[in-house]
Symmetry: D2
Subunit: 277 residues, 4 copies
């Protein structure tokens, strides 16, 4: 049966669940599953439900909006595969993990293209018959290069852009254009070791744990809303390259987890943080 | 402001959230937080909410029951400290952790008594000024010993009975008497290594991970509904006593977590499993 | 510079390290790294070193044996890529992870072939240009099928046989033939849930943690020496299929870890357990 | 039988293990267990052994030094309980955990005293009959207050000083006086969230994991060599106080682990990092 996902967020006030549930009930829809959360600090209400049944989206959406406080938001979409593109540079571990899960039908998405400023990953794209857009950054300004990346992305109707170890910094205008659609994997346990070669930094600091962080991208490098994090233990016997290898396992797991959450519309972004149901 | 906890479970059908939310709304109560889950296998609905405001419990409860399917259950209680007793034998690590958290106000409970078939834990009870009931099992039948334990427990109005490494097997009649109120910590990662000296068993098997399991007690030893589990890595360098020591850290953490969940009425037991919000 | 790996195990007695180190020193070899462990229960000594320099293997080995107690074993091999074959059936997540790591040079091995009783994994073998031996088990006795599998394996000089979700039970004669060379990934946290569909068993038991175990294969199904284990948290919201999906991530990580340990000769097997340096 | 711990570190060169093992062998001592590590970056050798037998410490030490390169260090001590003092301020969770483990003989130490700038922890000291030195910091300069703390510490022969949530910054002169003897628990996953109220910082950042770090104290606040770290998962549903509570469980576990490692002389400090056997 056809399923839809409803996401509501608005200032909190008594009766919200009652009013929302009433409208859903009167539409004859079944709530397959719902989650609710109130952020006490900002008095903000979040609600997500999976709805079974045929829906007139515009009508249901406008009825829901009519019972919400001002500044309320309603998102109502069919539960189906999303279209995504992947941006990478040279490292293959995250891209490889995504492609393997894709090829075995574990990924609820269509991978439309892989875009890279290098040729290193083309062999993987070819193996899985995914279009590969090689967009060399040499001799191009950051803006001109990004313009060509945008052209490549915009050939597809894209729901999600995954930075799978894409090593170029995005301009604010690019980020704004695809706001809330770009997920990055950070090769460290944010907020630790921001910047270049975090594994060398971690090694120099003598840490006993290595982490990775998947987050939405915003204007500040590595400062976007965190979606998922995980860690792995290391010890003095690890060179920084050993730490990097251990980190790669965590990176791919954390990125894949974040992608799955985004593909199933389980994430709200609010005040630079995430609410995840 | 006064808070109450509402727990509902019943066969699932459309409109349940609407009907429940409507009644709460009409009572002028605010839903501070709510969680909902449907077990698809058994088509069973679970709902828990924290309600703000003054409540006529009997009236609210009967109204809620009137909109539920047959076999529906409603639990509605004031959110406040619960009374608990702790049963132990000789090992002090779990009891000690509970007492330390109790003494620093981290435990949402009143510890009414410690009951034991040995004197080993009396020094701890004394340190924290908790009544200690020493009930020797020697020369007593299991039934007679349990009878005296029951007498000790029943001096208090008990919401929760914690088996903090209580090494005696409980009879079905005892378990039945305090159904849904007894939490045990199992010194292993269930369902592994059921029975005596699980650390020796784990050592002999050469496991690389040691675990602990907190569960409600039912008739089958170590087979009750699991509340919490956690693990810690070990290696060939661990003797079974080292594993036991590592296990103790996990045991106390896991038991404390399960106690906190029970004290805040966050656990449903259904078909020998738990739903935890 | 050329490196070798030395592995020694024997009954423990005083002076072993001195005698071993003396011989290494007199050969003008540098100990890049060494580890030592004594199993107190069986009074057994384990020693592993990475040696830098050119070695006359036969001479060094016989000198070392001459200073060990009776029943001592010396293994001395060049540190280089090993040859492995992978056996699979239908599930691709473990095989895919190995192949992706292989294609990005993260695996210290040559994958010589993939062998399967089904055609499901051929597309992956083709993507990575690995010979695929499809050996249908239909209409064949277990012995006859295994005979053909052996023929396929024996076309290559094999150091390691990885069962990447190979769903057929191996005969004792097969296991004996490749003793100490076969690694399996068990879809559960041994010793829990031995047998069929462990995720369904785990779901039915209501566990809060899912695990995976990589182990050497011996005659008893799922009873071989454990190499690596790891877990992931789950909750009541997981269907058994969700648990299976979560389990797959752990399975592939645990199997990859075990393969890396085996490829670097870091594992001793002793009394059905492992010592890992 | 009497056991001793030998710790050696020096510039690496071939034959070190041979020369060390030879001396030990010639003294008729048995190596119960040994570990060795070479830091490749700095070409530095670390060796630790547990020795069985009666030892002339001065003679053995000078013989060992004679076979080491310049700048080599030898530490040789009896394996026995160490004396420690604990400094705290107001929070009791770490102190409580230490005391509970102490009272059940799980801590390989004599706790000589608890020192605090507040009275909040006295009730715990009293429960466990430990001398409590209340040294008020009011109206005292940092130096004067520290002087009194030093006086209190120096009444005892102290091997280890544990800062169990001691909230005052130590002066370089204090740190220098007890160099390599002070262990601190940092309420965060270093190097993240250095400074005040890390749980509020973590909450504001929306992290999905909370950590704790035990480290030796040096001149730079929170910058000393890391001994142990661990983490726990959190989510959007955690207020910063919930994060703090979750963090406390990790803090006490991590601190206890670091204390055990220090008490068993398993830690080398080198270049602001630790090597732990």
């Amino acid at each position: 049966m056809s399923q839809s996902i409803l996401k509501v967020n608005c200032p909190d006030r008594p009766g919200l669940i009652y009013h929302i549930a009433k409208i859903i009930y009167e539409h004859g829809l079944n709530i397959e599953k719902n989650s609710e959360f109130v952020n006490d600090e900002h008095n903000w209400f979040f609600f997500r439900a999976i709805l079974d049944g045929k829906i007139d989206y515009d009508q249901l959406k406008s009825q829901l909006l009519s019972v919400l406080p001002k500044n309320g938001e309603v998102k109502l979409i069919k539960r189906e595969k999303k279209d995504m593109v992947i941006l990478g540079t040279k490292e293959s571990h995250c891209l490889g993990d995504i492609l393997i899960r894709y090829s075995s039908n574990e990924l609820n998405a269509n991978i439309k293209a892989i875009i890279s400023n290098h040729m290193d990953l083309k062999f993987l794209a070819d193996k899985f018959d995914i279009p590969y857009h090689y967009i060399d950054a040499k001799d191009l300004s950051r803006e001109d290069h990004e313009e060509r990346v945008k052209e490549a992305i915009d050939r597809y109707s894209v729901d999600l852009i995954v930075l799978a170890k894409y090593m170029r910094i995005l301009t604010p205008s690019f980020v704004k254009e695809y706001e809330g659609k770009i997920i990055n994997i950070h090769h460290s346990f944010l907020p630790a070791f921001i910047g270049a070669n975090p594994y060398k930094q971690a090694y120099d600091r003598g840490v006993k744990i290595i982490g990775a962080t998947a987050h939405y991208v915003n204007d500040n490098l590595d400062e976007g809303p965190i979606i998922a994090q995980d860690v792995v233990s290391v010890n003095h016997d690890y060179s920084w390259r050993d730490m990097q290898k251990a980190g790669r396992n965590i990176e791919k797991i954390v990125l894949s987890k974040a992608i799955d959450l985004a593909l199933d519309d389980r994430i709200f972004v609010f005040k630079n943080k995430t609410v995840i149901f």
